[in-house]
């Protein structure tokens, strides 16, 4: 419980100094509205996962304290990369986040799948961190400094005729962060790692890890590479569209609910990736809004998985049949989450997608928007399959579970977030201008 208290304190502090904008430690790290809001988001994620972990781990009779420690280290890494000014801090932060994620992925030692997940994550992770290093080196070569504001000034002042190396450096950074965020050609690790590692870790990785990586990605682009060159923009769009289609298509046939959620996480990355080519004034707002809705929806989706794990080993979708009869509240929450992930109006997911499409179309990437629309249509198949399974069919008896207070609290909060943001999106838009 101390942990939770600590986290709440940290949450309070971040919100306390909301107004001030200055950077500390020889402008290594700055506390502008962007970094504070995203840090608050990350803290919230970790808070939720810490809240849910005791009950989950007691069943596995694994001591969750050191796992909690790793989560806090990952949180520290996340906060660094979300509010970095110096590229060095970005590199170290990403390394800290990755290393703790490797360990978390492998935390359930006896389970072979978890071992395999950590192995895959480690090998691919370290290969692509060297890409990041190489990219930073090239950018440093051209601009001569690691400070993002200096690079940004240099780049905008140089206008079109900046040295070609700069773009190559930028591309390598995109590749590295693309890997971290599980974008298309570099997404191969994500499904296996999310599926292999224990459900609690998958929840943590897919929410905190992904949003931190996206925060860093957008922060770097907003500060350093602001007028995103058109051909780099197109490359990222291609990556985004490929991710959407691969994520959505592979999720169609998944029998295991957990692996389906893994692929849907990859698909959601595709949508979020559209923010990068359209980085500019509104993009921070869009990312934050989508981030919140994505986290809220994942929390609900994964909490059902966690509750299921209490009773059955199998993670197949058919476990959910007839859930609505057993406890309607949980079924309603999952329905709202699925609707939000699919992007159906009354839920926040719809406005998030709409906001994202407006941004992308505004930046001139309308074909990408059309593809995004088609892929979201494909996603309807499996999201609604869950809803159908819950509401039709006779209920298995063991679903008669009692939901522990921690779970019902977190589900309730995310439900409120999903519905409130869906009906009154005005609260959040314009926050990060």
């Amino acid at each position: 419980m101390a942990l939770i208290a600590g986290l709440v304190l940290a949450f309070g502090i971040t919100l306390a100094d909301w107004g001030i904008r200055e950077s500390y430690f020889h402008n290594m790290i700055s506390s502008d509205s962007y970094s504070l809001s995203f840090s608050a988001l990350l803290i919230a994620c970790t808070g939720v996962s810490l809240l849910l972990s005791p009950m989950y781990y007691n069943r596995l009779n694994l001591p969750y304290m050191d796992i909690a420690a790793m989560k806090l280290f990952a949180l520290a890494g996340g906060i660094c990369i979300v509010s970095f000014v110096n590229l060095g801090l970005l590199f170290i932060g990403i390394e800290l986040l990755s290393i703790s994620s490797f360990v978390l992925a492998g935390s359930d030692k006896r389970n072979l799948l978890s071992n395999e997940a950590s192995l895959k994550y480690f090998i691919t992770g370290s290969v692509f961190s060297s890409f990041l290093l190489f990219g930073i080196a090239l950018v440093y070569a051209v601009t001569g400094s690691f400070d993002v504001t200096v690079i940004g000034a240099f780049y905008s002042q140089a206008g079109g005729n900046i040295n070609n190396l700069f773009y190559v450096g930028m591309l390598m950074i995109i590749i590295a962060l693309g890997f971290k965020v599980a974008a298309a050609p570099f997404h191969f690790w994500a499904p296996d790692v999310y599926d292999g590692s224990p459900a609690m870790v998958t929840l943590f990785l897919s929410t905190m890890g992904k949003i931190a990586a996206f925060g860093a990605f957008l922060r770097l682009f907003n500060q350093a590479f602001l007028p995103v060159p058109y051909h780099i923009g197109i490359l990222t769009c291609i990556m985004a569209v490929a991710t959407m289609f691969i994520g959505n298509l592979s999720a169609l046939w998944q029998d295991s609910y957990k692996r389906m959620l893994a692929y849907s996480a990859v698909a959601q990355t595709g949508y979020l990736l559209l923010v990068i080519p359209a980085s500019g004034s509104m993009s921070a707002d869009v990312l934050f809004y989508n981030g919140i809705t994505y986290i809220a929806a994942s929390v609900i989706a994964f909490s059902v998985l966690l509750l299921l794990n209490q009773y059955t080993e199998s993670e197949s979708r058919s476990q959910l049949i007839g859930l609505a009869k057993q406890n309607p509240f949980l079924a309603f929450a999952v329905t709202v989450a699925m609707l939000s992930l699919a992007g159906i109006p009354p839920t926040a997911g719809f406005f998030g997608k709409y906001y994202l499409f407006t941004l992308a179309a505004g930046a001139g990437y309308t074909p990408a928007v059309v593809f995004a629309v088609i892929s979201s249509l494909i996603s309807i198949f499996f999201y609604f399959d869950i809803i159908i399974k819950m509401y039709t069919g006779e209920a298995q008896e063991q679903l008669k579970m009692v939901i522990p207070p921690a779970y019902s609290f977190s589900i309730f909060v995310s439900l409120i977030v999903l519905i409130l943001l869906g009906v009154f999106p005005g609260i959040l838009t314009g926050l990060l201008q």
């Binding site: 060095g88 590199f91 170290i92 390394e95 290393i99 490797f102 360990v103 492998g106 030692k109 072979l112 799948l113 071992n115 395999e116 997940a117 950590s118 192995l119 895959k120 480690f122 090998i123 370290s126 290969v127 961190s129 060297s130 290093l133 190489f134 930073i136 080196a137 090239l138 440093y140 070569a141 001569g144 400094s145 690691f146 499904p191 296996d192 599926d195 292999g196």
Partner: protein, 100 residues
């Protein structure tokens, strides 16, 4: 004075050798070493650039890179030990259960 391209090409070659090693070898130990090699190639480039820009922040950066690679190796080997305990071999081909 050695022009900067040479360092650049050298580090790219080392980087690609490391990448090829990662692709070719099946044994985890060799794999970790090739990863180390890739990181070092980037270090080399950084040091060359710091000489070129005569600004030593790049060298500090190399310090941290070394530090990071050390941490990575330790975690990597820990993973290797864990895997070895479950399957007594360091071949990565054995780990294929998570698919489709």
């Amino acid at each position: 004075m050695i022009p900067l391209e040479h360092y650049l090409y050298l580090s790219i070659i080392l980087f690609c050798i490391g990448a090829m090693g990662v692709l070719l070898r099946r044994n985890m130990i060799i794999l970790f070493m090739c990863i180390e090699l890739m990181l070092n190639s980037a270090n080399l480039l950084l040091v060359a650039l710091s000489k070129f820009h005569s600004d030593n922040s790049a060298q500090i950066f190399v310090f941290f890179v070394m530090l990071v690679s050390a941490a990575e190796v330790s975690v990597g080997l820990a993973i290797l030990v864990m895997l070895y305990r479950n399957k007594p071999s360091t071949q990565i081909d054995l780990w294929k259960k998570l698919k489709e």
